[in-house]
């Protein structure tokens, strides 16, 4: 019966995903510049949130370093944008973020709980202020201009990063390393005694998540024309993925996507329509989500599905399917 169910599931999900991807790929041709950029903005937060969940979701290490890796991406685009082609700039941004993550990870991943969180947040501030000091005192400048790229290029680059990221997140999740990361979140000490090289695994997962944060920083920077250290290393970029992941729910891969999409869209509507009430409504929605949706939006969806499954109608169907399978066995 297991195999039958798997087969059914295997069929409709990839088809649905494929249709969605094709839709997203052709969509820009029919949209205004504003909507294309809104989509990019949504994708940016999806990418940040899904990357964040790759490491912090299973391990429970709450990282606030997102803005650091994003900012490194932004500054890579600003510094290398005139010298290298766009794909190379984006790739370098990812790799420099990886280097930073490896360095920071090796130093800090022995810290646990709140100490790790505070350190990662300190990193964002450290980088922003060091950069500012360097620019003002050594280079005698404040901020930089970034190479401008047209909207379609931005959109398709962001879209490509999104697809590669989702594939990576999916593969990690279903691999043995996904299980090992979860075991670290459950009981790190026990995981180590089961042969899991916990330090190495944490650092690598941290670096993978940093890679995607760096790439999205680099491409988004091209949309901003001018950046300075406080635009690049904006603490909001660190907090948003955490909130979006909690709001969407981390139990399923699509949770962070839903969380980031709803959140970003809500933010956009509130800022444009109710600018004075924006933060108030935003805060209230967040509190409501934490109080009433412990598993996030995904938790709610899963609950509904569970209910549907346990309803008498569904049960009959399932029994019937089981009976068919028994025939095959006989």
């Amino acid at each position: 019966m297991n195999r039958v169910q798997l087969k059914n599931k295997n069929l409709y999900l990839p088809v649905l995903i494929l249709i969605l991807l094709v839709l997203l790929a052709v969509l820009p041709a029919y949209l205004s510049v504003y909507h294309i950029l809104l989509l990019c903005h949504i994708f940016m937060y999806i990418i940040l949130t899904v990357s964040w969940v790759i490491f912090s979701g299973p391990t429970g290490y709450i990282s606030l370093a997102s803005a650091a890796f994003f900012g490194v991406g932004v500054y890579t685009a600003a510094m290398l944008g005139y010298a290298l082609s766009l794909p190379l700039v984006i790739l370098s941004a990812g790799l420099i973020s990886v280097l930073l993550a490896l360095l920071v990870g090796a130093i800090t991943l022995r810290l646990k709980g709140i100490y790790f969180t505070i350190f990662t947040f300190g990193l964002v501030q450290l980088l922003a202020h060091s950069l500012l000091w360097w620019e003002i005192n050594i280079l005698g400048i404040r901020g930089r201009f970034v190479v401008v790229v047209d909207h379609y290029t931005i959109y398709y680059t962001v879209f490509t990063i999104f697809v590669v990221l989702m594939l990576t997140a999916y593969l990690i999740r279903r691999s043995r390393y996904g299980l090992a990361l979860r075991s670290i979140g459950e009981y790190e000490e026990a995981a180590a005694h089961m042969g899991v090289n916990v330090t190495m695994l944490k650092i690598v997962a941290f670096a993978v998540s940093a890679f995607f944060m760096g790439t999205i920083g680099a491409i988004m920077a091209t949309n901003w024309t001018y950046v300075d250290p406080f635009i690049a290393f904006n603490p909001t970029i660190s907090f948003m993925p955490v909130l979006m992941a909690i709001f969407g729910g981390m139990g399923q891969l699509y949770g962070p996507i839903i969380g980031a999409t709803v959140f970003t869209y809500l933010e956009e509507i509130l800022i444009t329509r109710l600018p004075h009430l924006y933060m108030l409504i935003f805060g209230a929605a967040m509190i409501a989500a934490i109080l009433y949706l412990p598993g996030g939006l995904v938790g709610l969806i899963e609950k509904w599905r569970e209910k549907a499954r346990s309803s008498p109608c569904f049960f009959k169907k399932k029994q019937k399917r089981g009976a068919e399978k028994r025939d095959v066995n006989a």
């Binding site: 299980l179 026990a190 005694h193």
Partner: protein, 248 residues
């Protein structure tokens, strides 16, 4: 053949000696018990062997190879597995995956997922958890959680298994079953080194017993020798008498 050798193992916590100059050996195929009053340093000794803690001086050898100084995951892959006094199972992960993790990561060679899954299924049968394989570990009863810890340790294909108070908190039927399980494990060729307070179990299944007191090894011998040892009786009963008389 020697499975485990401790040579002058010493560990301090701050200024306090937790384990002092302990020497002993465990032979292949033995079941060796480690007993001693609370705070004697038994679990500290286990933590030293499994790599949780580092020795201050001395050495620990496994099959003639020095393992003190290695990381827990390296020691596990060499073939030393352990369970914990307070169960440390992965609560929100299914029983099956709890064991699978050990099979995937704990063995010295790379294991394919299919092979690891087959080993896991065997172990579920071996410890009697096959009917709860999909349950999240936190929903198991205590005795089943302990069985899961044993299965998880066995999944790493150890040659030496360290059991930290496997029987604590079990009722007498469960203790008998656990004793049976330990014997079955030994019969598979795995050497067992166990901390235990349940005397019935210790006396019945151990080939040899080591007694620890205030971090020192005070006796070593067969169960019969240990029960007849004056020193051991003093440590256990002497303190009991004092407490009974109310002088302390």
């Amino acid at each position: 053949m020697l499975m485990l050798e401790l040579e002058g193992a010493t560990k301090y916590f701050g200024g306090m000696a937790a384990v002092t100059n302990v020497d002993f050996q465990v032979n292949r195929g033995e079941i060796v018990g480690l007993i001693g009053p609370n705070g004697a340093g038994k679990t500290t000794l286990f933590n030293l062997i499994s790599g949780d803690l580092r020795l201050k001086s001395g050495a620990i050898k496994y099959k003639g190879q020095k393992i003190s100084g290695l990381k827990p995951y390296q020691i596990c892959r060499l073939g030393v597995a352990r369970t914990f006094q307070l169960v440390k199972i992965f609560n929100n992960i299914s029983v099956f995956q709890n064991i699978l993790l050990g099979a995937l990561f704990g063995q010295s060679r790379h294991v394919s997922t299919a092979h690891a899954a087959a080993q896991t299924a065997e172990l579920l049968d071996f410890v009697g958890l096959a009917n709860v394989s999909c349950t999240p570990a936190k929903d198991l009863t205590l005795v089943n959680q302990k069985r899961l810890e044993v299965a998880r340790a066995l999944a790493t294909k150890p040659e030496l298994l360290l059991l930290d108070e496997l029987m604590a908190g079990l009722n007498s039927t469960e203790v008998t079953e656990a004793m049976e399980l330990v014997r079955k494990i030994r019969d598979q060729g795995i050497t067992v080194f166990m901390i235990e307070h349940v005397m019935k179990a210790i006396m019945n299944i151990c080939d040899r017993i080591i007694v620890l007191h205030h971090g020192n090894k005070i006796a070593e011998g067969t169960p019969l020798e240990i029960t007849g040892s004056k020193k051991v009786i003093e440590v256990y009963l002497g303190e009991g008498e004092l407490a009974y008389a109310g002088t302390d």
